[in-house]
Amino acid sequence: MRYGPSVLMRGVVGLATASFLLAQANAATLLREATIGEPPPLDVMLTTADVASVIGRHIFETLYALDSTYTPRPLLAESDRTEDGGRTIVIKLREGVLFHNGKEMTAKDVAASMTRWGSFGARGKLLMAAATSVEATGQYEVTLKLSAPNGAWKALIADVNGGLAIYPEDIAAKAGNRPIEQKDYIGTGPYKFVEWRPNRYVEVERFDGYKPVKEKGDGFAGARVASFDKIRFIPVPDVGTRVSGVQAGDYDYAEMISGDLYESLSKDPSVQVQRTNAPIFGLFFMNSKQGILKDNYKLRRAIQTALDKSQALRVAFGPKDLWTAEGSIFPNGTPWYSSEGVSNYSAHDPKKAKELAKEADYTGTPIRLLVSTNYQAHYDEASVFTRQLADAGINVQMMVVDWATLLKMRGQPEQWDIFVTHHSFAPDPLLLTFLNASYPGWWDSPEIGSLRAELINTTDPAARKSTWGKIQSLIYEQVPVMKVGDAYTYDIASPKLKGLNPNGPVFWNVSTK
């Protein structure tokens, strides 16, 4: 049989038409999100990376979830009670919740997940260091016993970032301290893991066995209804491409758009702008273990006194809508907001800074500031501050590295004096990294030691808030970190999407208009 050019051409056209129709058929129920990059493993119990959290929360769930006011509400839990002055926590689980492998979630799965989280989880030790036992005390009941009460237990296990994700018992036990393997990405969420194509996408699909809670969706809490058959999280590192992709209709949602595009995109009818209501804040960590700043609080205050935070925020984030020069660690309008001690937040007084530095016996020794270029805002903030500090006679030498190098170097106290990072919004002060004495920076003065214990072991909300006020004052006195200010990131989405969540990219309860 002979095949002429016309037959070949018909074949090509036929193939092209079929692929076009297939693409159109798939597009109807596929949500495409442009992420800033690829996640580390989706073991959301171990990692606090935002990219992993965003994808992972569609697959894995926690016992409690934070609502729009950042209050924990039951999700996989049904109810709870505390006994023995808060030392015993009994959590009753919802019945009939299925894992993606079809098995029902029981107390054994929760106990195994909680044990792993306590040993290796990003946030687990904050609660579980004081645990004396975790037991399944019934098919749907877990009992956690603590050596001392913990006022933040519910917020700690509800946090979407490094919180207590519930895995099947065998998977949690098998993984131990290693990241969970892709074949074991089994959770209880409204979407289940399908595949991770390196460099291309992570795909999840609707879990038909999902059983939502009865309450209406609110923040991350409440009912979760999956409208899309599939979601693809596609790494698109270039911000211009993410923007054009949504404008052209190739993506339905794009994360982390740069500040300089905010005003034009706000007026663009081809996209809808989604500004987050939970700010991130830049942090300059001081080395409390070694070096020139180790316990020289006066020199740290001199550094803080020299700075104009607004200038750095303007350079790093652009329009005023996207940042607030706020000294309170928690933003205004949230339950933990406090004005204690913030008077020296952004003094911008080089003369006074010089005097303080002189009193601190500072003679111009170079102060090594470790910063990466992977986060443009970090670099911008560091550049502005370095110049402002030079005006006050404080000699800062920037050590510019990539993020992977910074992650390693910041664990070596002899390598740096200040390092730059940022912190996402935390629902409880105990989740702030700088309150963790083993986190690089290693702030562990006697004063913070006793205040931290008070914050952990107090269960009364008003008393805890009062303690937090004292801690914030101490932060401005001992300056273990300097807060730059609150920055509101924003995402963009197709105008066709409705139900978007200002707490962060979440695609349950989202549908097309």
């Binding site: 393997e181 390196p198 491409t241 990539d402």
Partner: protein
Amino acid sequence: MWSYAFKRAATTAVTLLAASIIIFAFIHIVPGDPIYVLLGDTATPDQIDALRHQLGLDQPIILQYLTWAGHVLEGDLGRSIFFQAPVLSVIADGAETSTLLATMTMIWVAVIGVPIGMIAAVRHGTWLDQGLSGGAMLMASIPTFWVGLYLILIFAAWLGWFPSSGYPSIFEGGVLNLRYLVLPSLALAAPNAALILRLTRASMLDVSREDYVRTARAKGIRPWQVVRRHIWRNALLAVVSAFGFTFAALLSEAVVTETVFALPGIGRLVVQSILRRDYPVIQGVILVIVVVYLLINLIVDLSYRLLDPRVELQ
């Protein structure tokens, strides 16, 4: 010819060995650690040590190299630390995009660069030549990412003729998926077409000053026949050589284009792998690029002989 090919293959093997040692050493000298990237902010020293041991990163560097090289000889490039997948499959997935992108780019380069270069040479000294040469200079000077962003803006965001970014495999979506590569290949082709244009023009002008061309013209052969039979064929050697190197270089040059167009190619893969210190992927990709480069170099050298029997291969 065959002894030349054998010698070149042996040289290629030695070069590859040297390259593999250099790649391995450089990657491991650079500070940074995949363990921190994998485990994140709050990993404990015990956790870090355990994972490092599991991945064999606590072994002496020479032992790590020998283990890796031994596996490579068996055709196993190892497993990606980050993706938890065989490096070969990760590279193969990216290679489809990069190879098709490079091929489509070379088609643009050939279609745009060579004929316009010929026209400029034939119309040497005229306003047309000056205009085309000036245009080529401009195209060679504009950064690829800039061309790429404007192509996206005009042809994807405004006109909607082509997708803005991404690339689903043709094995999954059919040949129509090649439309995803039109804009990136054009962006990548722009500076390379300009260079080929200038090279074609210069090469043809050089040949057109040869005595045998003057003789052919004196014999009254029609101008187009002179170009086709005498100038073009002899000018082709330099152009073919440039094509070979351009194709090989595109695999690494495409990094920016693959980033701007969010293409899952090996250029972007290697950059992202460097950022997260995914050693097996970095080593694997660079090794593959070196092999491709050396092979293309070999093919180009051998093709000289085929194009011009007077060329001696030694």
